[in-house]
């Protein structure tokens, strides 16, 4: 890693250590590239394509979260082509799911002047909320399929493998084995998936119940596990 790489980002000469991604190289140069699916603690899959940049000589745009900086590269992080892709992806995303609890994406939409009504008659993904365990709810109408929950449940953190996908294409949804309720799966309720969810699709049950208008006492009553209930009964 003692080798260094010289490239140009947005007209600015930049020297970075070998092996860094374009996203990291830009950050070192003080240039921020927007990201959605990227998370510092999970494997980058380059699937949201919000972080694409234009690299001179490349046929297509390049996802900066995985593309490595190379000597002599000339990179444009905010060209017209890049902005069109980002804006259109944001417009398509907001036409698909509920982004009301994704403030970072909302900020991006303002930045790229994305029109929330660009696809007015689009079929939205609106499955009902899955409330099948005392710890968290799954509201896939808010899910942007960033894969973070699947990854932390698997090799990126917990090695629990409770989550995977159902369907494919636009019909893809995060799911369990034959759609079983969470308590019937290998889920250990570690909460890592809830922690990395960027849109409020996964949410602690108590937070969700409070939002539904339940009082703190009612929330306690609804979410105590049998074990805790027994313990409290014995204290009384």
């Amino acid at each position: 890693m003692d080798e260094s790489i010289k490239l140009t980002i947005d007209g600015q000469p930049v020297t970075v250590p070998a092996g860094v991604t374009l996203l990291q190289a830009a950050e070192m140069a003080g240039i921020t590239i927007p990201t959605i699916c990227y998370h510092v603690a999970t494997t980058s899959n380059a699937l949201c394509r919000i972080c694409v940049v234009e690299v001179e000589g490349a046929r297509t745009l390049v996802p900066s979260c995985v593309a490595k900086a190379a000597d002599g590269m000339v990179v444009h992080t905010d060209s017209e082509r890049v902005r069109l892709s980002r804006r259109t992806i944001l417009e398509m995303l907001v036409s698909s799911v509920d982004l009301s609890e994704a403030p970072e994406i909302q900020t991006m939409m303002a930045e790229y002047q994305a029109d929330p009504q660009r696809f007015p008659d689009a079929e939205r993904r609106e499955p009902p909320v899955l409330d099948d365990n005392p710890m968290y709810i799954r509201d896939y109408a808010k899910c942007i399929l960033c894969w973070r929950c699947v990854q932390v449940c698997a090799e990126d953190a917990q090695y629990t493998f409770a989550l995977n996908f159902s369907g494919r294409g636009y019909e893809t949804q995060i799911g369990t084995f034959y759609d079983h309720p969470m308590p019937e799966t290998t889920c250990v309720f570690c909460g890592q998936c809830v922690g990395v969810c960027p849109t409020g699709a996964l949410k602690p049950k108590r937070e969700w119940l409070l939002e539904q208008g339940y009082s703190p006492d009612e929330v306690m009553e609804l979410t105590r596990t049998d074990r805790r209930r027994r313990r409290r009964d014995s204290i009384e």
């Binding site: 892709s85 992806i89 996908f165």
Partner: protein, 573 residues
């Protein structure tokens, strides 16, 4: 839940369990052959035996269109509904079938499930259906009962052309045996290759100028060289037989009619890159080609062309034939690797490329069926003679699949350099009497439209590129002046919406939005913003999608917008 006899599954688990996750698709196929679908306890047993997390097993089952997690009819019929079959009346075939009372879970004697399917690769026999995985063509003239009983005669492949090198043994309405193949000069290419060093074989293939015939046109010799020199052991070769581009059927004909040519090409490829194992990944719908290849593999093993010490040399090589399970995306090379590894067919981020990080993360050369079929020819006649065919920049023979509104739909072999007009009128017999040529789709759903102005275009990589047309895999779907452009576009956009894997946002959502807009347009509701909407979706998918599927999913629509813009602003009759 009905009682599931898990003891029936024991042989499957014993066979595939020790192989682990890579055997997931074969195990699911075997289970479905037993139970008709994949019941939950069966999926769980397979997951345990193969050591695959159950959620992942479910993810795989639900990804592939040919795996069913709920019971289906005893007879299962797939009706192709892509353009060539639609022109020939696929919609009315489907309607006729679904109007019959005993279908879709009926309790009568014949419980039948009928479903629409993407292109079945039987375009020359349009309108085509699969009945219990058995192909049937010209279905508009078959009785429903004959179809359901599967008593449909085998369809003879229509094969022609100016030259018959790759297709020399094709079109006889039967499979070429090993003996016949040898009599026609078969396996001489392998003998020649084994008398050379692997580097010399690669040099010969490089000198021939052969480029990939699957669509990407990458120089084959360069790919082999990079794989051969990549560090790491083992190396693999893979034959991509996941032919699923709408309108394409050339690989099916080659595999069914002359399977040894494909095997010989793969063995030579294996020798060249230093692989001891090769895979052939055949699309799930091509059950006949799959069985034909298996039989040919046994013949080749018995004759010493495959296995230990091939033809008495130090070289040993084995082949494993795999079946897909209904996913166009698995024709993308990295998605195909994922599928062999027992996963959902999600394409990987490239780089790294397969030559260094391919199947199981090892150096891998992956080639299309037709590409490999060229290899024995090159080894036999030599690169110099090979280059005498075709043009300087596009040497060799090329297979074209012509279908749609032509008199003689079929597979045609020509040297690169003939005109589209020659192919269409001299070979395929032109259009039906009284009809005019209106356009053609070059390269399948991922391709672009040609207009009457393109009739004299020369069929070579360089000339097509200059004309803005993709060669793709050599598929040309012709349509006449009676066809509805909206209907054609609608079928293409539906194909992509159904076949997108859903990994990257531009394609996952873009294919869906593109389809919705085209459905609305076809219904007569065209809005002033639609042209720009389709342009932006198309540019975003082309520029920013993760793999080749997404990058070409708007190609046909964008080319239609270029040649027939009026269709996208006002409803045309």
């Amino acid at each position: 839940m009905t009682d599931i006899d898990l003891s029936l599954l024991t042989p499957v688990l014993e066979k595939y369990g020790p192989q682990g996750r890579t055997a997931l698709l074969p195990a699911l196929h075997a289970a479905q052959d037993i139970y008709g679908y994949i019941p939950e306890p069966v999926a769980a047993s397979i997951g345990m035996a193969l050591n695959v997390p159950l959620a992942d097993v479910y993810g795989v089952i639900d990804f592939y269109a040919m795996f069913y997690r709920a019971p289906v009819g005893e007879t299962h019929i797939h009706v192709c509904n892509d353009p060539a079959c639609a022109f020939a009346g696929a919609d009315s075939v489907f309607k006729r079938m679904t109007q019959t009372s005993t279908i879709n879970g009926g309790t009568g004697e014949m419980r039948v499930t009928v479903e629409l399917a993407p292109c079945l690769g039987l375009c020359e026999h349009a309108p085509a259906v699969l009945v219990q995985e058995k192909p049937a063509g010209r279905t508009q003239v078959q009785s429903w009962k004959d179809l359901v009983r599967g008593s449909i005669p085998h369809q003879r492949s229509i094969v022609g052309g100016d030259i018959r090198l790759l297709t020399r043994n094709c079109g006889k309405n039967r499979t070429t045996s090993l003996e016949e193949y040898e009599d026609s000069g078969g396996y001489a290419g392998l003998r020649k290759a084994l008398s050379l060093s692997p580097a010399e074989v690669i040099a010969e293939v490089k000198a021939s100028g052969l480029v990939g015939r699957g669509g990407a046109a990458f120089p084959t010799g360069v790919k082999w060289e990079a794989t051969a020199s990549a560090p790491g052991d083992p190396h693999y070769v893979v034959c991509n037989a996941d032919e699923a581009e709408p309108g394409t059927f050339k690989d099916r004909v080659m595999m069914e009619d002359d399977p040894h040519r494909v095997l010989e090409g793969l063995i030579i490829a294996g020798y060249a890159v230093g692989a001891r194992k090769g895979y052939i990944y055949v699309r799930g719908e091509y059950i006949q080609a799959y069985h034909t290849l298996e039989e040919a593999q046994e013949e080749a093993e018995a004759a010493g062309y495959l296995g230990e010490n091939i033809l008495g040399t130090d070289y040993s090589f084995e082949i494993e034939i795999r079946r897909g399970a209904g996913a166009y995306i698995c024709g993308e090379e990295t998605a195909l690797f994922e599928s062999i590894e027992g996963k959902r067919g999600f394409p990987r981020v490239k780089p790294p490329f397969p030559t260094t990080h391919g199947l199981f993360g090892q150096p891998t050369a992956i080639n299309n069926v037709e590409t490999l079929a060229n290899v024995p020819l090159i080894m036999t006649i030599g690169a110099e003679a090979y280059r005498q065919m075709g043009t300087e920049k596009s040497p060799g023979p090329k297979l074209f699949c012509l279908s749609g509104d032509v008199v003689r739909p079929g597979l045609y072999e020509v040297p690169f350099g003939v005109t589209f007009r020659h192919l269409l009128f001299d070979l395929a017999g032109g259009l039906r009497p009284g009809r005019e040529f209106r356009g053609a789709l070059f390269g399948g759903a991922a391709g672009a439209f040609a207009t009457p102005d393109h009739l004299d275009v020369v069929l070579s990589f360089e000339n097509l590129r200059a004309a803005g047309l993709p060669l793709g895999s050599g598929v040309i779907t012709v349509f006449d002046d009676t066809r509805d452009l909206y209907d054609i576009l609608l079928r293409l956009s539906r194909f992509f919406a159904e076949e997108s894997c859903g990994k990257c946002y531009p394609c996952q959502i873009g294919t869906q939005r593109q389809h919705e807009i085209l459905v609305r347009m076809a219904g007569g509701d065209i809005r002033p913003e639609d042209y720009q909407r389709l342009t932006d979706i198309g540019r975003t998918m082309t520029d920013s999608s993760l793999c080749g599927l997404g990058q070409t999913a708007a190609s046909a629509v964008l080319s239609a917008m270029k040649y027939w813009p009026q269709y996208f602003t006002t409803r045309q009759a």
